[in-house]
């Protein structure tokens, strides 16, 4: 990643320098545009809809929506460190930047994988909530082998369904109809009914 940007950056004094300045300016401008376009402010929240700003996130949104965890934890609860506030926003910013650049470059793969860093974060988050269930001796009778498995393996190597289901990939959910933030139409009733209701 760093290499990639280094190569892109023009050497001091090169003819490209001026062009680069102009380019930088436009990139910043574009950045603001992208920020608006990407509803960046919404990323500061824990609202999972922030993540569906990108269509590539709709399969994971939808699978989460249909998972046992929907009522308990949304994206950030698993994918962002929850140990302290600073860490959380830092991780989110880095993650967000990464996603945004890949997305803008249209380089998203058909099947997305968590990077190693993310995996650690997620594993820690599973443990954060389930620590008692997976560590207490007294639950050994209730759930076998958890104490060992906690350290040796990733939770989702067994709990494959949690929370995105067994099948992954961009087209695993055919009609990615998620409540897009761009689609903020508020009525849940057809217009004829709305008129009728108003006329009363």
């Amino acid at each position: 990643m760093r290499k990639f940007f280094k190569r892109l950056w023009p050497n001091r004094g090169s003819r490209w320098r001026t062009t680069a300045v102009v380019l930088t300016a436009s990139i910043v401008g574009l950045g603001f545009f992208l920020m608006k376009e990407g509803e960046v402010v919404s990323y500061l929240s824990d609202n999972p809809q922030a993540c569906v700003n990108c269509h590539v996130m709709t399969p994971v949104y939808n699978s989460w929506m249909h998972s046992s965890h929907r009522e308990w934890v949304s994206c950030n609860g698993c994918h962002v460190p929850q140990d302290n506030v600073f860490n959380a926003y830092y991780f989110k910013a880095m993650d967000g930047l990464y996603h945004a650049s890949i997305f803008t470059a249209r380089a998203e793969p058909e099947v997305i994988f968590m990077r190693e860093g993310s995996q650690e974060v997620v594993q820690n988050n599973c443990v954060r909530c389930h620590v008692q269930q997976v560590t207490q001796r007294k639950y050994d009778g209730f759930i076998e082998n958890h104490r060992q498995n906690r350290t040796d393996r990733q939770c989702w190597s067994c709990h494959k369904e949690v929370p995105h289901g067994r099948i992954h990939g961009m087209s695993t959910i055919k009609y990615n109809i998620a409540p897009l933030p761009t689609n903020q139409e508020e009525l849940v009733i057809p217009s004829w009914l709305q008129q009728e209701m108003e006329s009363e």
Binding site: R70, K174, T182, V188, I189, P190, E196
Partner: protein, 474 residues
Amino acid sequence: NRKSEAKYQYVPQVDIGENEVRNEVWGENYPKEYQSWLQTSESSFASYQGGSAMRDMLEEDPRLVVLFAGYGFSKDYNQGRGHYYAIEDIHNTLRTGGPKGPGDGPMPATCWTCKSPDVPRLMDEKGIDEFYSGKWADKGPEVVNSIGCADCHDPKSMKLRITRPALVEAFDAMGKDINKATHQEMRSLVCAQCHVEYYFNKKIPGKEGVPYLVFPWKNGMTVEAMETYYDDLEFTDWTHKISRAPMLKAQHPGYETYLTGVHADRGVSCADCHMPYKSEGGQKFTDHHLQSPLNNIANSCQVCHRQEAKKLMTNVYERQQKATENRLKLEDLLVKAHVEAGKAWDLGATEEQMKAILNDIRHAQWRWDYAAASHGASFHSPVETARVIGGGLNIAQEARVKLVRLLAELGFNQPVPMPDIATKEKAQEFIGLDMEKLVQEKEEFKKTLLPKWLKEAKAREDAMDSKEVSMLDQ
């Protein structure tokens, strides 16, 4: 922008109109949902008390015939089955009788409300009051598509939407705005358009005489709140033929009872269990085969519960059986109370003497029905269901204690002999129904009027074209 791409990753085949009633047209754009919707036509699964198989409730339990004496449900009452059959079943039921043409038959047009996407279309075209007006037979040629896409979806965005005014009005009456519902709530509210207790209010100021569909939720949705609502209105569905009690019919308060259960409390929606995700060839979509989740435990319950399917099934059956046990006791008491009240009339009881008794019978049977007709409730909310039945048992017996005292006063101090209602036929004979005539009329209707309706509808729909989406539109 790129975000909207998501919405149209698929290639729409047709442009679906605002009032597109033909499910197969929607199906061209959404074949998987449509294919699974078609499966609601399956009718082979039977569970302990539910499933999609045809089950004649009156045959399974002839006591119901006595409970409903003087009312349509004593003629014919089946367990609900798949959405695919909504139209067919309302054609076939003896409750709608054998109309000979417009203006004829026992039922109002309002009966169509929960059976078809033709309903929102007609309401849009004619107005709501006009839709509710007239006889069931008047709109026969207009309502022909079974419950489908347009009932729950906005054709443009495919977002869930509420198409039935009664639900919107009921929210209004409770001081709530249905447009504030969350996405997750909508996944239950679309069902709450139909799977709810209702009545026909013919006395709405300005709409007098129109059997307007109303959900009686103004005071709340508990069995007591709705009872007070009806008592305050002095509303009565029918007068019982034997006891002459002013009865209430509870129709499937599924949503109301579901709300009192632990699943609703934890944010689990109807669609989570009855329309879970399904995988086909590596793709996931919402299974539109709405059915008993017991026929689909792996995709529904097991998303959240790791227990074996058999165990989960047992959990459901256990709760249903416990509810049934006391519900049947209550049923027995109600049959006795009706018959005993009939005896009291025979012996010359006065209105004055009967008043409190009949009111008890009304309230007890209302509780029984609230628990019985909300078909899923013994699982959706077993504790509330048991509470309601317990209340009913108490009131039914209260009626009987009073009845015994009255009968003694009238000179009859012994158990009142009970009729033989061992079978549906015997029970129907006991309450004086001429079943042969009813069946005969229905047959006549199916031979003469019904084919006309269907022909007329076909002609109308054939004339509607589906707009293929041109490449340019995309």
